[in-house]
């Protein structure tokens, strides 16, 4: 053994070192390339998803309307009871004035299919709300029927053979006549937000879903926030470390991983069967989702409490603060931004929850928004589910539009969470 062999072992020869360096650099490069490939794949899939949704959904944000003049003759409508008039006849007369000369019953029916089936109710409501119209002419922008709307948007193609097309050649001719008369417009579809659900896509909207979701998320928040925070404070600040608290902790962590449909079955069995909460009620939905959100909320809150530096607790105890004072004066204010962020993200997850709500019947067909937490309701995701299941062509775009609206709400909530975290987080 010479000095030279000691200071330079065989593996550290210059030649070997160069090869080693190359292999290291190659390994680093490969790892980075895998990472970039993974990120690109993820972004690509997200992009495909978003593009598909937007391409399929943007058409639902506009709606074809046809301007019609309705003659509200004084002898046809009784001012004392305007709702009882023959509105169907008035609508037929309005169409006749628009496109005169249609005589045969089949033709008249085909003509009536240009406007939404509910046109008579639009006219009736307008006159009931404003009886001064009786004896005059009412001009209304009436939503076109789904088939006409789809024709206008190019979804139903004119070059399709007429027997394979839901719009007849005659109806296309009428529509073209109306376009030539300047009676067709395509404004922004506010009805998507202000209308309740309907069998007719042209007048179906998300109002029920939005109001229902609001109730469900409100119930979920009111139940899960205090319970979750209370449980987290006890477990983190007071509970002794023993077998029982370990068991509770394991269970909470497992509960966070239970499939949501199981919670739906539980809600059906307990809240509806035993407690007698009405089926489809936001109260039942909110309670089920509160149960699902609880474990997440407890875990998030505990982590936020854990992140408060022990020196702050020590300082407060050293000043003679009681445990309650330490928690309320020092620990909770510091943990609050984290708790708040976790809560908002939990509520966003609650907003998007679907499966358990299907089990408790929140996918019912309901044509008026719920007036309270005990009324039957749908939520945004279950409304999307209902529409996705409907055969009419117009619901395809509306399903996508519903998804866009839901994503919009989720985006707003997550942005709020980020904003509050950056705004409230304090350095120490």
């Amino acid at each position: 053994m010479t000095d030279a062999s000691l200071s330079r072992p065989a593996s550290a020869q210059p030649y070997d070192r160069q090869r080693l360096r190359k292999r290291r650099a190659a390994a680093d490069f490969r790892l980075r390339a895998y990472g970039i490939a993974a990120i690109s794949a993820a972004i690509g899939m997200l992009g495909i998803l978003l593009v598909t949704i937007f391409v399929g959904g943007y058409q639902a944000f506009v709606q074809t309307h046809i301007r019609v003049d309705f003659d509200i003759a004084a002898d046809a409508v009784d001012p004392a009871n305007p709702a009882a008039a023959n509105w169907r006849a008035i609508v037929a007369d309005g169409l006749d004035s628009l496109l005169p000369g249609v005589e045969s019953p089949a033709q008249v029916r085909a003509l009536g299919q240009l406007l939404t089936n509910n046109t008579q109710f639009f006219v009736r409501n307008a006159v009931v709300a404003n009886p001064a119209l009786i004896g005059g002419t009412l001009t209304l922008e009436v939503p076109a029927a789904d088939i006409i709307d789809q024709l206008n948007k190019g979804v139903i193609r004119r070059d399709t053979a007429s027997e394979n097309r839901r719009v007849s050649d005659q109806q296309i001719a009428w529509f073209d006549q109306l376009v030539a008369d300047g009676r067709v417009s395509t404004p922004f579809n506010w009805g998507l937000f202000t209308n309740p659900d309907s069998r007719f896509p042209e007048i179906a909207g998300l109002l029920n879903g939005m109001v229902g979701s609001l109730y469900v998320v409100a119930v979920c928040f009111l139940v899960s926030f205090p319970v979750g925070i209370g449980a987290a404070i006890y477990l983190e600040e007071f509970a002794p470390r023993n077998r029982w608290t370990d068991l509770i902790e394991v269970n909470i962590n497992n509960l966070a991983a239970v499939p949501s449909i199981v919670f739906g079955l539980l809600g059906l069995a307990v809240f509806i069967q035993i407690f007698g909460i009405p089926r489809s009620a936001p109260l039942a939905g909110g309670l089920v989702i509160a149960l699902m959100t609880l474990p997440t909320l407890i875990i998030v809150t505990r982590n936020a409490l854990k992140a408060v530096p022990p020196s702050i607790r020590e300082a407060a105890y050293g000043m003679g603060a009681s445990p309650q004072q330490v928690i309320f004066h020092h620990v909770l204010p510091l943990a609050f931004p984290g708790i708040l962020t976790g809560t908002i993200i939990g509520m966003a997850a609650a907003l998007g929850e679907t499966a358990p709500l299907l089990l408790i019947g929140m996918n019912a067909f309901i044509t008026s928004p719920p007036g309270g937490v005990l009324d039957a309701a749908t939520t945004l995701p279950t409304q999307i589910y209902i529409w996705a299941d409907s055969p009419e062509r117009g619901f395809v775009a509306r399903t996508n539009a519903g998804i866009i609206v839901l994503l919009g709400f989720l985006l707003i909530m997550n942005a709020l969470a980020i904003f509050l975290r950056q705004r409230l987080e304090r350095r120490w």
């Binding site: 002794p240 470390r241 530096p309 020196s311 702050i312 607790r313 020590e314 300082a315 407060a316 105890y317 050293g318 000043m319 003679g320 603060a321 009681s322 004072q325 004066h329 020092h330 510091l334 304090r426 350095r427 120490w428």
Partner: protein, 273 residues
């Protein structure tokens, strides 16, 4: 029972009023501390003299901080910690069931190793103790106690224009003096300091040491320190701990010039620890 309430009231009224006939403020007798199965202190008996600075020295893990934390029952916050023996404050057992730990900590204040002001304003930091202990009723009273505590801690002139700014924005030395001001705002009888200068630079350390010397007139001070020079500079009494036992205690100059035990000698000359 009567005596106890009197003492408690005297403690409220101010540290000078509680100066009794006895020269001993706190005393530990045969104090044993266990962390779970592990024993950290083996029968320590030590008397803390009133209006003097007692320093606890010894190598890391020798139990000096553990003993200090027994004096205001900070060890209560550690669930597995168990304390045996008796510790008295003005002759009253601080581990007695009838004694409220919250009141004890108002009478025995503590300053920690790392400056740990609350993430609140300078004013609120100092006002916190008097507020939770119900020592102030009006805003004027609070202001008075905050200003006088900051003055005593030698910080007032530096922060008088920014009392509403966060205490965490001060420099390390200023933060530590803020913690001292916060601790003396409750007018404690005893002030415990756990290596108060170990996170500070030499200039800030000198200021704190000067402050400790001034505070000695009003308070009984117990300080844990790793620096033997610091112990020699600020304390009148020194206690040397080693492996959970109190090896030697006495007047500081005796310990440093003429230690009785060989272990003490070895430690202060730098051969162990």
């Amino acid at each position: 029972m009567n005596d106890m309430t009197e003492i408690a009231e005297a403690g409220r009224a101010g540290p000078t009023a509680s100066r009794g006939a006895s020269a001993v403020a706190m005393e530990g007798r045969d104090v044993k501390v266990f962390y779970g199965e592990k024993q950290a202190l083996f029968g320590v008996s030590l008397a803390i003299e009133r209006n003097s600075v007692t320093s606890l020295i010894g190598p890391s893990g020798c139990g000096k901080s553990t003993f200090l934390r027994c004096l205001n029952r900070m060890n209560d916050t550690i669930p597995i910690c168990r304390v045996e023996g008796t510790i008295t404050l003005d002759g009253e057992d601080i581990y007695d069931r009838s004694l409220d730990v919250v009141e004890l900590r108002a009478r025995v204040g503590m300053v920690f190793q790392k400056p740990n002001p609350f993430p609140k304003s300078i004013f609120d930091n100092v006002a916190y103790g008097p507020k939770i202990h119900g020592m102030v009723r009006t805003k004027a009273e609070t202001e008075e106690i905050v200003v006088s505590s900051l003055r005593r801690a030698g910080l007032f002139n530096e922060v008088k224009d920014r009392l509403n700014e966060p205490g965490t924005g001060l420099s390390g030395g200023q933060q530590q003096r803020l913690c001292i001001a916060r601790a003396i705002a409750t007018r404690p009888e005893v002030l415990l300091m756990d290596e108060p200068c170990s996170a500070l630079d030499p200039i800030a350390t000198a200021i704190i040491e000067e402050l400790i010397d001034e505070l000695r007139e009003t308070y009984t001070i117990v300080i844990v320190t790793h620096s033997m020079q610091q112990a020699a500079r600020v304390s009148q009494k020194t206690a040397f701990f080693h492996l959970g036992k109190l090896i030697e205690e006495g007047r500081t100059e005796d310990i440093f010039t003429n230690p009785v035990h060989k272990q003490t000698q070895d430690y202060i000359t730098g051969r162990i620890g």
